[in-house]
């Protein structure tokens, strides 16, 4: 390797070199310092106050059991399709966010069918027991799992009184971008939070109406003039496991 010596008259003045270096360095540092700030402003603009969940609302569901037909599983199919819950033909380990349960009164023999899903409790046991805080409750009452910090300990599944949570036991395919999932973590009904944030109702509610049953009513539990409150005023509603006093966001009527 040869090294050509620089002639004296070819040299760039040192002061000019220094000036150029400092100018470029200053520009680089400024860019690095400002860019995240600009990005933050951008994010803050995107998540304006109006679009953030607020505790002025509490989203919930009212299930009219008189209209919920035994044998119909439109809500279950819609949920599976919306969130890409395909299953592996192993019911014990496949994910199920909503299921139809047939009930029979042990005294009178009266039969009915109800959907059971995450009840979006005001005091959710899953949130209490989660060691990392992955299970959390949004300000608007929706109980979710932060899939980035769930470690898959399943303590929330032990604590859930409704067995509404599923652990992902195997590899997944066909995931939906709006409903990311992952092997080895726990998940449950999100009340279709991605749709709610776009002013749409949950997929199960839509499917039930389209099937002509209209047994599921979605709305804001805090809105006195809304459909949930007005229906609740006309008929008695009950929550599952009332003994635990969880004040669930999903309520049932006509039984």
């Amino acid at each position: 390797m040869s090294c050509k010596p620089m002639k004296k008259d070819e040299s760039v003045p040192l002061a000019q070199h220094r000036r150029t270096f400092f100018t470029q360095a200053a520009a680089g540092v400024s860019l690095m310092a400002l860019a995240p700030g600009v990005r933050l402003v951008e994010l803050a603009m995107a998540n304006s106050e109006d679009s953030l969940p607020s505790n002025d609302k509490r989203w919930g569901l009212l299930v009219d059991t008189a209209k919920c037909e035994s044998g119909c599983d439109e809500c279950v199919s819609a949920c599976n399709s919306e969130h890409g819950l395909s299953g592996h033909g192993r019911p014990e380990t496949d994910a199920q966010w909503i299921r139809k349960v047939d009930l029979k009164d042990e005294q009178t023999g009266h039969e009915l069918s109800i959907p059971i899903l995450c009840q979006h409790c005001e005091d959710p046991p899953c949130v209490d027991v989660c060691p990392t805080g992955a299970s959390f409750r949004r300000a608007d009452g929706i109980v979710l799992v932060d899939k980035h910090i769930c470690i898959g300990c399943r303590y929330c599944m032990m604590a859930c009184p409704f067995q509404a949570r599923s652990f992902i036991h195997e590899d997944l395919t066909g995931q939906k971008t709006h409903s990311p999932r992952g092997k080895g973590i726990v998940e449950s009904c999100t009340l279709c939070v991605h749709r709610i944030d776009e002013d749409q109702e949950p997929a199960c509610v839509e499917a039930c109406r389209e099937a002509g049953h209209d047994a599921l009513v979605f709305g804001d539990l805090e809105d006195a003039a809304g459909p949930l409150a007005s229906l609740s005023r006309k008929t008695a509603t009950r929550e599952l496991r009332p003994d635990l006093k969880l004040n669930t966001g999903v309520r049932y009527t006509s039984f």
Binding site: H88, R90, P91, E92, T93, D94, A95, Q96, R99, K100, V101, D102, L103, K104, D105, E106, Q107, I114, I116, P125, V127, D128, V129, C130, P131, T132, G133, A134, I149, C150, I151, G152, C153, R154, Y155, M157, M158, A159, C160, P161, F162, Q163, R165, S166, F167, I168, H169, E170, D171, G182, K183, G184, I185, V186, L240, R241, D243, L244
Partner: protein, 396 residues
């Protein structure tokens, strides 16, 4: 009585054989964990109804035993009983290695064991599980300090104080472990404050049984037997601890049997639940309680062999007890809509199926192997083995 002296475990063929067997268990555990994590938990018997299985039985057993393994050290330094002093160092070593074995099983069974760092950086202080992370790591740190006080002659004067702190800490630790189940208000089989003191009694019993077995093993590897005075004291203690566990088990079931609310669940666990009543009556009560108590409290059986048989039976009972408690408690269906019978495609209203897989047993045995292997390594690295200082007869 002279102060005990200690030595390193000398190299011998029996030592390397036992170390090789323990290593084989660790390898089986690692292979099992890899299989479960790469294929996913569907290859285990666990499912969405029985979410904690055999690995949790092993993990809880090891964690609870770790606390009880400190008995010998506590009795020597907190209650001033010199008979146990030669065993203090081994007792503290065993507490650390059993806990490490149990925690390893617990971590390797996680859905995402790679996120262990998340568990150590994100805490929800409303969760008893999060509190337990501090209780476990704090216990290990405290016992390390305790060992330092024992090993370093200049620090010997602090042994009593650190020993008392470790003693209090381990009572809280076992209360915390029991509370993992006691706080589950949604499940009938758990949700009972008596589980916390019951877990303390279990820790004393399981830990003492393991102390007898591990100590007999380590002394026989060195070529001598477990000193008679120690053995006699430990066996009598174990007898009392087994009775204490039986007392809490009885109180727990009687309380539940009193109200009609829990009759179905009690009928399931005690009479009609298939494998669970069998494990309860034959494993936990007959083999794990009645037989060992008779053997331990009878003077005619006060030699080493029957003592070790009794200690092993206590461990059989321990596994059966934890299996019935943890898995049986999940298998019994939650009554989501009281007053109604429930049927669904998700197994509502029916007893949950659970068939443990070999991988689960492999992982659990890996934890036991890890505890034993690290125990053996410890005795080679530092002077844990007592050579003198044994009492000649049992203390009253």
């Amino acid at each position: 009585m002279r102060a005990p002296t200690f030595q390193h475990m000398p190299s011998s063929t029996p030592f390397w054989w036992v170390a090789a067997i323990a290593t084989a268990f660790v390898v089986v555990g690692l292979v099992s964990a890899h299989h479960m994590e790469s294929a996913g938990h569907w290859v285990t018997g666990m499912n969405n109804r029985v979410v904690w299985g055999v690995p949790h039985v092993f993990a809880v057993f090891l964690i609870v035993s770790a606390s009880g393994a400190l008995n010998a050290a506590s009795i020597a330094s907190v209650f001033g009983r010199e008979t146990y002093k030669p065993l203090s160092r081994l007792s503290a070593l065993m507490a650390i290695t059993l806990l490490a074995g149990g925690l390893t099983v617990l971590v390797l069974d996680l859905g995402r064991p790679d996120r262990l760092i998340v568990a150590m950086t994100h805490y929800n202080f409303r969760s008893i599980f999060a509190w337990n992370i501090f209780l476990y790591t704090g216990f290990i740190a405290l016992v390390v300090v305790y060992l330092w006080m024992m090993f370093e002659p200049r620090m010997n004067r602090f042994v009593g104080r650190v020993g008392t702190t470790a003693f209090a800490w381990r009572l809280i630790l076992t209360t915390g472990t029991g509370s993992i189940f006691a706080f589950l208000a949604a499940r009938e089989a758990f949700d009972s404050a008596v589980l916390a003191p019951m877990f303390i009694a279990m820790s004393l019993s399981f830990g003492t049984a393991l102390t007898l077995i591990f100590s007999a093993l380590i002394f026989s590897i060195r070529g001598d037997g477990l000193p008679t005075a120690l053995m006699l004291n430990l066996r009598r203690l174990l007898g009392y601890f087994v009775v204490a566990v039986a007392f809490f088990v009885m109180v727990d079931h009687l309380t539940r049997l009193y109200g009609a609310e829990h009759h179905s669940m009690e009928r399931f666990i005690l009479l009609e639940g298939g494998i669970y009543p069998m494990l309860f009556w034959i494993g936990q009560i007959l083999l794990g309680t009645i037989l060992p108590v008779v053997m331990l409290l009878q003077r005619r059986c006060n030699t080493l062999a029957p003592t070790l048989v009794a200690a092993s039976l206590v461990l059989v009972g321990a596994f059966c007890q934890l299996y019935v408690l943890i898995i049986g408690g999940q298998a019994f269906p939650i009554d989501i809509v009281p007053g109604f019978s429930e049927t669904s495609g998700f197994f509502d209203g029916v007893i949950a199926e659970y068939q443990p897989s070999l991988a689960e047993f492999g992982l659990g045995m890996g934890g036991v192997g890890l505890a034993l292997l690290t125990y053996l390594i410890g005795t080679r690295v530092l002077a844990f083995l007592p050579t003198t200082g044994f009492d000649s007869g049992p203390s009253s």
